[in-house]
């Protein structure tokens, strides 16, 4: 494994803070977060509720912008981008996996996987080919034309993973990806994550589940809006 410290970081946060105005008080959801994430990293971000995990996810996912500080994604400072450019960055460089799958109900499996490609302007045929290939890869090759309501939770999450992979993102963000699943399906999903990381994908799992830290190669613990600890477990990953 290439030592991460020798390559350029895919994500770099410099002194990132996020403030919210809640009535009269200013809530600092994130305070002075510095973080470098390298290609191929397999990270779990852990912490109790209210520690700033969601804010972290929103910022890392370019859904929100930091109040203070800079965020470089693939060398591009995204902390000051316009709304349209942020959309472009999300669609091109990021893959999202949510706790509640977040599939679009009126679309089939293939069409759901195609959504990011559609906004990237990939041609119909090309995006269809990619979607079918990915669906097959996550084990849904026989359910291409099913709708989300016709699938189990584990299957829906696999569609979501295929969707997150469709635009070949730099980073995949998973928010409590196994939170709604039974342990068997959850285990399957985590197995897919392991496989993706082994294929060289950068994954960030955001979770409150301590067990996750046993799987990932790096664990970041958040407490009160700042990083409490950041440990590599390369020896365990091996």
């Amino acid at each position: 494994m290439v030592s991460p410290s020798h390559s350029e970081p895919v994500i770099e946060l410099r002194g990132v803070e996020k403030h919210y105005q809640m009535g009269d008080t200013l809530v600092k959801a994130l305070q002075g977060v510095d973080l470098k994430i390298f290609p191929g990293d397999y990270i779990s971000i852990l912490g109790p509720s209210g520690c700033g995990k969601s804010t972290m996810l929103n910022i890392l996912g370019c859904l929100d912008q930091p109040s203070v500080g800079q965020y470089f994604l693939d060398g591009l400072d995204v902390s000051k981008l316009s709304d349209d450019d942020l959309s472009q960055v999300r669609g091109k460089k990021l893959g999202f996996i949510f706790q509640s799958y977040n599939l679009i109900q009126q679309l089939t499996v293939v069409e759901n996987i195609e959504v990011p490609l559609y906004y990237q302007g990939v041609s119909e045929k090309e995006s269809r080919d990619i979607a079918i290939e990915l669906a097959t890869r996550v084990g849904l090759g026989k359910r291409l034309d099913h709708r989300p309501t016709e699938l189990s939770g584990g299957q829906q999450q696999r569609v979501a993973i295929a969707r997150a992979l469709s635009n070949d993102p730099s980073v995949i963000l998973a928010d409590e990806a196994t939170g709604n699943l039974d342990s068997k399906s959850g285990g399957d999903i985590l197995g897919i994550f392991d496989q993706l990381n082994a294929d060289g994908k950068t994954l960030i799992l955001i979770t409150h589940d301590e067990g996750m830290s046993m799987r990932t190669s790096r664990t970041i613990r958040l407490k009160d809006g700042s990083i409490a600890s950041d440990k590599r477990r390369e020896e365990v990953a091996r």
Binding site: G61, L63, D83, Q88, R90, G91, V115, Y118, Y119, R163
Partner: protein
């Protein structure tokens, strides 16, 4: 900033996908979509149908008026109805009223723009062909009557100036009269009888188009006006004077009536359409001076035409307001449903935004849905709107005219309504914060 040319290249494909997506979303809520589109359906359909009916009705009326001749002013003698008439009638036994040759010569001398006048006298009595008879009117007139009144000769010919000068006993029958008196045989060459005079039929002329409109115009209450106007026989005015004299006698079911009318009808042809209205005014002055009682009536086809047009204008305004209101209601219905849809699909909007959709992509998506909804409503509305006039024409035998622009106009208004009422919900959808939209339950 990235791959702009590529994006443009795929814009058509994206539009197609957006339309397909819109159809899917609308199809998911079929009943709701149908009910939402109904407002537009009825709006569009009623606009087209009402326009077609209105256009048909006014066209018919205008056609009749035009056939009277827009440069003509038609004067008719009528019995004055005021109380003094009754007293006079008792004294003289012979009722004297109506237009006179003096009126005509004064009109021709004083009113500017008068080209020609067509005098006519009328005898109302039974017209006989052997044993068949009908209560009709016999009109003594001049040879240029058909041309001036836009009446076409259906068969045979009209009488000539020579026949008028020689007071020939010839006649031309209206089509209805010919059909009534000669249901099986050829009228031309045959003879008809009025009282004790016989006339040779030389032609058949089209029915008087004024028959119905003049009947409506007649405020003096002659119930048989319409029928007797259609049952009409035309003879030279000189022949009429020869045979029936100045005083016309009528025997009707035991009662006796005598009246003296110089001229029953005068058609005044004016040279320029612009001068018709002033000429009508001048003629009215001449007649008011010459007649103590209003024993005449004046029909100005141009005036009727203008009045018909004004009526049509009012009709169009009423129609337009109804259309505007129904489309407004339809539009509000669409907006209401789209706002509900946007709220219901907040999560989907959040997902799409997270997966790379720009604000404008969301706007376009919802606008396309609204436009498809209203467009589909418009198409159904146009189809119904085209069908209803056909059904009305078929069953109610009313003339309906569908102007080519009516369906196009109604359809484009429906689409514009969709866009206008879709803009707000679409922008509301696009303006959502992706983070909050994703968290929406």
């Amino acid at each position: 900033m990235i791959r702009h040319s590529l994006l443009r290249e795929f814009s058509l494909f994206r539009l197609k996908r957006s339309v397909l997506l819109g159809i899917k979303s609308l199809w998911m809520h079929r009943l709701r979509s149908l009910l939402t589109a109904m407002g537009i359906v009825f709006g569009v359909c009623s606009v087209i149908a009402m326009l077609a009916i209105g256009e048909g009705a006014s066209h018919e009326a205008q056609q009749q008026i035009k056939e009277l001749g827009s440069q003509n002013i038609i004067l008719r003698s009528v019995k004055a109805t005021d109380a003094t008439t009754a007293g006079e009638q008792e004294r003289s036994l012979i009722l004297e009223y109506g237009l006179t040759y003096r009126d005509i010569s004064q009109i021709q001398a004083t009113v500017p723009g008068v080209l020609v006048t067509i005098p006519a006298r009328e005898v109302k009595d039974f017209i006989w062909n052997e044993s068949r008879s009908i209560d009709g009117s016999t009109l003594g007139t001049v040879p240029w009557f058909p041309e001036m009144r836009n009446r076409s000769i259906v068969r045979g010919r009209f009488f000539t100036e020579i026949e008028m000068n020689t007071r020939a006993p010839v006649c031309v029958l209206s089509r209805s009269l010919a059909r009534h008196l000669f249901p099986l045989t050829e009228p031309i060459g045959d003879t008809v009888r009025i009282q004790t005079s016989y006339f040779r039929v030389i032609g058949v002329i089209a029915d008087d188009p004024a028959a119905s409109s003049a009947g409506e115009e007649d405020k003096n209450g002659k119930p048989s006006a319409k029928q007797s106007a259609a049952m009409e026989m035309l003879i030279p005015i000189s022949t009429l004077e020869d045979h029936f004299g100045e005083v016309l006698f009528k025997y009707r079911s035991g009662s006796f009536e005598a009246e003296k009318v110089e001229l029953h009808e005068v058609t005044v042809r004016i040279d320029e359409p612009d001068r018709v209205m002033p000429a009508a005014q001048a003629i009215r002055h001449v007649l008011e001076r010459n007649h103590k009682k209003v024993d005449y009536e004046m029909i100005v086809p141009l005036d009727l035409l203008r009045r018909a047009e004004r009526t049509k204008q009012i009709f169009n305004i009423v129609l337009g307001s109804i259309a505007a209101i129904s489309l407004l209601v339809g539009g509000i219905g669409i907006m209401n449903i789209m706002l509900a849809t946007v709220t219901e699909r907040t999560r989907e909007i959040g997902i799409r935004r997270a997966l790379g959709a720009k604000k404008k992509d969301i706007v376009v998506q919802f606008l396309i849905e609204t436009v498809m909804l209203s467009g589909a409503g418009g198409v159904i509305g146009v189809a119904l709107g085209l069908a209803i006039p056909l059904i009305i024409t078929h069953f109610a035998e009313m003339v309906t005219i569908i102007e080519f622009w009516a369906p196009a106009l109604a359809f484009s208004i429906s689409v514009i309504t969709g866009v206008l009422f879709g803009i707000y919900p679409a922008f509301r959808a696009a303006g959502m914060n992706p983070v909050e939209a994703l968290r929406h339950e």
